[in-house]
Each structure stands twice: as structure tokens, then as C-alpha cells.
């Protein structure tokens, strides 16, 4: 027991060292800081999805909607309301999270594939809104004309707009806050209940756990986390894209979670890293990258269903 605890601390320290030093080791390996920022943001999205998928066992295939709403919330705030980066992140998070909370209440009685189907269809609603409401959202071209703003810390200004490293650390800070919240919730009695529902829903119900309410809360929390990732993504690109709400984006997120390992907390981050780097690389060498991404899906499902971390853990055991 004590051994495991120390090992966990070592692993955790290792992960954070790697993340904190990313701008310094990315460059020599042929990467660039902006790529690291994207990995962190998409990794946060995949971890948020996995909060629901891996730890509550609820299959949402429309999570891109909350991601995209977060992005539009942040973008619209910067463009029309206030030139403040923190405010934009909070606004994005609220927009995505609240919409998720309302829809979640409609969905919680569905299970399995049916839940997946209804989430896909409802996710597309937001895609269509973003796509059609051109006067507000820019329609097919996406939302442009805003940019992230320097953060005034009182003593000095953090220039996250032009300095890639400062921006990376700003994103990493947000990442740490959200991931910390996620870890805290998963360790709480509520988090244990989520896992109990995943393992055996009927038994949890017999134990007197209000399953629907727990699933709704987990769904809502997951939407809030997801929307924060979306808001950060809008800041990364200074742009919000309607395709960020599309169900194919949801599929990418699910893939990241599965590829990294759904049963582990950090797995989706690893999955996102592999996915982003691979997609970046494939789209630079071939126009048929879509086929290869599709092939990746098929191969992972058939041969690595437990993901990279699941595979490593099993081969170690």
C-alpha cells in the first residue's frame, strides 16, 4: 500500500515535470511550443470526456458540442463584451456547462447506445446553430476578429498574445486547476459513487444511490470541464470553428480517451498527445490522411481496446 502511494507520487511528479518543461524539450525534438499547447488543451478535453466515459461509464458521443460552445462563449465575450482573457474563459465555461446541464436533464434516463445516439443528435443542434446564425457566429467561416488579451497581474503584465511560452504556462495553469478539480472529485465519495455506477448500476440502485441524479451531476461537471477546454482552444487559435462542434470532433475526443486508456486518469492526455502529433504528421505527408486516421480507429479498436496505458499495465503485470 505504502509502496503504491509513493509510486503514485513519483508518477505524478514525473508527469508534471514533463509538462512544466515542455517548451524546453519540445523544440530539440522537432516540435514547437504551440503544438504542446494544443496537446494540453485537447488532452484536457479528452480527460473531461473520460470523466464521464471512463469513470461513470456513460457513453456520450456529442461532447464536441460543449467544447465548441466553450470556444464560442470565449470568442464572443472577447469580441463583443470585454477584452479580458480570464473573463472569456469563464464565460465559455458557463455557456457550455449550463447548456450541458439543461440537456443532461433530458438525457439521463437513456443508457448505452441510446444515450450515445441522442447525445450525437443533440450535439448537432449546436453545430447547426453555429453554422446558420452567421450574423453572430460567422457561420461556416467561423468566428474571427478577436484575440486573447495580455493578463494584468498587478505587478506585471503577462503577455500571452505574442509570447508562446507565457501562453503555454497560462494554459498549463488552467489545465492544472481543472484537472485538480477532476482529481479531487474522483477521490471524493461522489467520485467513488460514480465508479460504483459504472461497475454495477443495478446494484448501486439497490443500495439506495440516486443513479439518475449522480449521472446528471457527472454529465454536467464533465460539460463544464469540456467547455473550459473549448474556451482555451478558442484562445489558442484566436478563432472558433463550427467544425469544433461537429460529431466527428466528438469521435476524435472519444478516440483520444480510448487510445490513451479509458480506465486511467492520465490516459486521455497521452492519447491526445499521440493523436495530435500523428494527425499533424499525417496531414503533412499525405492528402489521404483521413484514411489513415480511420485506419487508426479500426486498429486501436481491434488490437488495443484498453489503450496505450492499459496495454503497458497489462504487459507489466
Amino acid at each position: 500500500m505504502k509502496d503504491r502511494l509513493t509510486r503514485n507520487w513519483i508518477v505524478l511528479a514525473g508527469i508534471w515535470t514533463v509538462l512544466l518543461l515542455a517548451p524546453y524539450w519540445m523544440a530539440p525534438l522537432g516540435g514547437y511550443t504551440a503544438l504542446a499547447t494544443r496537446v494540453i488543451v485537447l488532452g484536457l478535453a479528452a480527460m473531461s470526456l473520460n470523466f464521464l466515459l471512463g469513470f461513470t461509464g456513460v457513453l456520450s458521443f456529442g461532447h464536441a458540442a460543449w467544447f465548441g460552445l466553450g470556444a464560442y462563449g470565449a470568442g464572443l465575450t472577447l469580441k463583443y463584451l470585454a477584452l479580458s482573457t480570464p473573463l472569456a474563459v469563464i464565460a465559455g465555461m458557463l455557456l457550455g456547462g449550463l447548456c450541458g446541464a439543461v440537456l443532461g436533464a433530458l438525457l439521463v434516463r437513456r443508457r448505452g447506445v441510446y444515450f450515445a445516439m441522442v447525445t450525437i443528435a443533440f450535439g448537432q443542434v449546436f453545430y447547426y446553430i453555429a453554422f446558420q446564425w452567421s450574423s453572430l457566429t460567422g457561420g461556416d467561416d467561423g468566428l474571427r476578429g478577436f484575440s486573447r488579451q495580455p493578463i494584468d497581474l498587478g505587478l506585471f503584465k503577462l503577455d500571452i498574445l505574442s509570447n508562446a511560452n507565457s501562453f503555454y504556462y497560462f494554459v498549463l495553469f488552467c489545465f492544472a486547476v481543472v484537472v485538480g478539480a477532476m482529481g479531487f472529485i474522483l477521490r471524493s465519495p461522489f467520485g467513488r459513487t460514480m465508479i460504483a455506477i459504472r461497475e454495477n448500476e443495478r446494484r448501486s440502485r439497490f443500495l439506495g444511490i440516486p443513479v439518475e441524479r449522480h449521472i446528471w451531476i457527472a454529465f454536467t461537471l464533465s460539460c463544464f470541464f469540456m467547455a473550459s477546454a473549448g474556451a482555451l482552444y478558442a484562445l489558442v487559435n484566436n478563432f472558433a470553428d463550427p467544425r469544433g462542434l461537429h460529431y466527428s470532433q466528438s469521435g476524435d475526443f472519444v478516440m483520444m480517451a480510448v487510445m490513451g486508456g479509458m480506465r486511467s486518469f492520465w490516459g486521455p492526455l497521452l492519447g491526445a498527445a499521440v493523436f495530435v502529433v500523428l494527425q499533424d504528421y499525417l496531414s503533412s505527408i499525405t492528402v489521404n490522411w483521413m484514411s489513415f486516421v480511420g485506419l487508426l480507429f479500426v486498429l486501436v479498436v481491434l488490437f488495443f481496446p484498453r489503450g496505450l496505458l492499459g496495454f503497458l499495465q497489462r504487459s507489466k503485470a
Binding site: L59, A121, M290, G294
Partner: protein
């Protein structure tokens, strides 16, 4: 105005007929095997391109007869090799696999046949309008609707009266018991999948004659088919039939009054129906949980 409305309702019915063919296939596979087949639109495209490729040799009628079974055979191979290992696992995996497959099919057809739209020639007597007044009622459109009606009727006869159909329906209700009665469930799932893909292939051929072919056309039809299933009630094939026609007509009528919302209206319809009747129009209690 009446003419415009009539035009759009006819349009809506025809589009709805496509949704019905797609959605019935999806529904069959979903009900028996618990697989959401994201690649269904891909199979539609394959059916269309097969028709396009063989039309010069066998003519339109030959293509209409041959392309759907050929598509079904491809579907059978896919089911046997890729999807069968996933039965009994978390439905997440079959969903992801077919999702990837849809990517591969879309990109593959683009690679083989090129990104430009391809026309499929239909017999000239079918493409002429039937009357000057109702210019939009071409022979082909009537023909399409007739084919859809025949296909749907045959499907329901198959499910109602043949041994295979009865087994499929029994399996939808309780696959375990069906297996315990000594029926080869693997075979049943394969055949059921093939029937579903056959319908996708058929709609591919019909769509090719009306709209021409593009690698992305399947993805556009996928979401409305999902909604047709949800609106009609998951688990009910007649529900899927009504659902498809309903959303087709609804988007047709909306196109008259508020064109920008013609695609969004089907989502509104879905939301309203799920709010007032959570299991869909014809869904049975318990089928959705």
C-alpha cells in the same frame, strides 16, 4: 403559393423516403446487434459508385438490380471481419470502429473516383416531367418513391412472415433466449447486417440517379436518419418509417417559409418529441434504457 407548398411537400416526401431507407437499415442493425453503424452513409456511397461503375455495362436497370446485393456482400465481409469480434464488448468499440470506417470509405471513394460529383444516367423516359403544370413530378421521382415503397413492403413481409424475419424480431427482443433455442445467432446477425446494408446500397443507387454522386453524400444523410429513428422511437421499425417521412415533410414545408431553418427544424422536432414523449412516437417502454 399552393404550388410552391405542394412542390416542397413532394420534395420532402422524396427526401423522407431516402431517410426511411437509410434509417430502416440502421435501425435493423441497432436493434439486433446494438451497433450504431456510423459507416451506413459510407455504404450508401459505395452502392452509388458501384452503380455508376457498372451502368455502362449493364445499363441503369442492371445497376439497380446488381448494386444493392454487391454492396450487401461488401457489408457482409465487413461485418464478418471487423464487427463480429466486437459483439459482447462495450458498444463504444463498434461505434468507434464504424466511425473510423466511415472516414476510410469517404476518403477511399474520393481516392478512387475523384472528388467531383459523378452523374448516373437514368433512362430518358424517367427524367421527363409528367405534366407541365406539376413540373417537379418527374417520372424518376415517382419511380424512386415506388421503389422505396416496394422495398419497405418487402422488408416488412420478410420480417413478418419468413423464418429469418421472425428470428430477427425475436432476437431483437431477447437474443439470449433465441440463442438458447439453438439458433445460430452469429449467422442471424450477419444476415440482418446484410439486409441493412442492402437497403443502404439501394438508396445509394436511387440517390445517384437523382442527385449525382459525391464522396460526402452519405455523411449528410446519416444525421437525419438518426433523428428519424429517435423521433419514431428506438426499437420500432414502423416508427422509423413514420419518423423518416415526418422529418422529410417537416423540412420540406419549412423550406417554404424559412429556408435557413429547413435543416434545423428536424432537430427542433426531435427535441419537442423527446420532451413530450421521451421514448419517441412508437417506442415501447423500456426499449430505450
Amino acid at each position: 403559393m399552393t404550388l410552391l407548398l405542394l412542390f416542397n411537400i413532394t420534395n420532402g416526401l422524396i427526401v423522407g423516403a431516402f431517410y426511411v431507407l437509410m434509417a430502416l437499415g440502421l435501425s435493423l442493425i441497432l436493434n439486433l446487434s446494438n451497433v450504431i453503424n456510423f459507416a451506413h452513409g459510407g455504404f450508401l456511397v459505395i452502392g452509388g459508385y458501384i452503380a455508376y461503375t457498372i451502368t455502362p455495362y449493364v445499363g441503369f436497370w442492371g445497376a439497380l438490380l446488381l448494386a444493392p446485393p454487391l454492396t450487401a456482400i461488401i457489408g457482409l465481409v465487413v461485418e464478418r471481419v471487423l464487427i463480429r469480434p466486437l459483439y459482447g464488448r462495450d458498444p463504444l468499440y463498434s461505434l468507434l470502429l464504424t466511425f473510423g470506417l466511415a472516414f476510410m470509405i469517404e476518403d477511399g471513394t474520393r481516392f478512387i473516383w475523384g472528388p467531383q460529383g459523378k452523374p448516373v444516367t437514368i433512362p430518358p423516359f424517367l427524367s421527363a416531367p409528367l405534366s407541365n403544370e406539376l413540373f417537379f413530378v418527374t417520372g424518376y421521382r415517382l419511380f424512386m418513391v415506388a421503389v422505396v415503397i416496394v422495398a419497405v413492403a418487402l422488408l416488412f413481409v420478410l420480417l413478418r412472415y419468413t423464418r429469418l424475419g421472425i428470428r430477427i424480431r425475436a432476437g431483437t427482443l431477447d437474443l439470449e433466449t433465441v440463442a438458447a433455442l439453438g439458433i445460430n445467432v452469429q449467422m442471424l446477425r450477419s444476415l440482418n447486417f446484410a439486409v441493412g446494408i442492402f437497403l443502404a446500397g439501394l438508396s445509394g443507387v436511387l440517390a445517384a440517379g437523382q442527385l449525382g454522386l459525391e464522396p460526402t453524400m452519405g455523411t449528410g444523410l446519416l444525421m437525419p436518419s438518426f433523428i428519424a429513428i429517435i423521433v419514431g422511437g428506438i426499437g420500432s421499425l414502423p416508427g422509423t418509417l413514420i419518423g423518416g417521412l415526418l422529418i422529410g415533410v417537416a423540412s420540406g414545408i419549412t423550406a417554404v417559409f424559412f429556408p435557413a431553418a429547413s435543416e434545423a427544424v428536424i432537430y427542433v422536432l426531435m427535441a419537442v418529441i423527446l420532451l413530450t414523449r421521451p421514448r419517441g412516437l412508437f417506442g415501447e417502454e423500456g426499449m430505450m434504457s
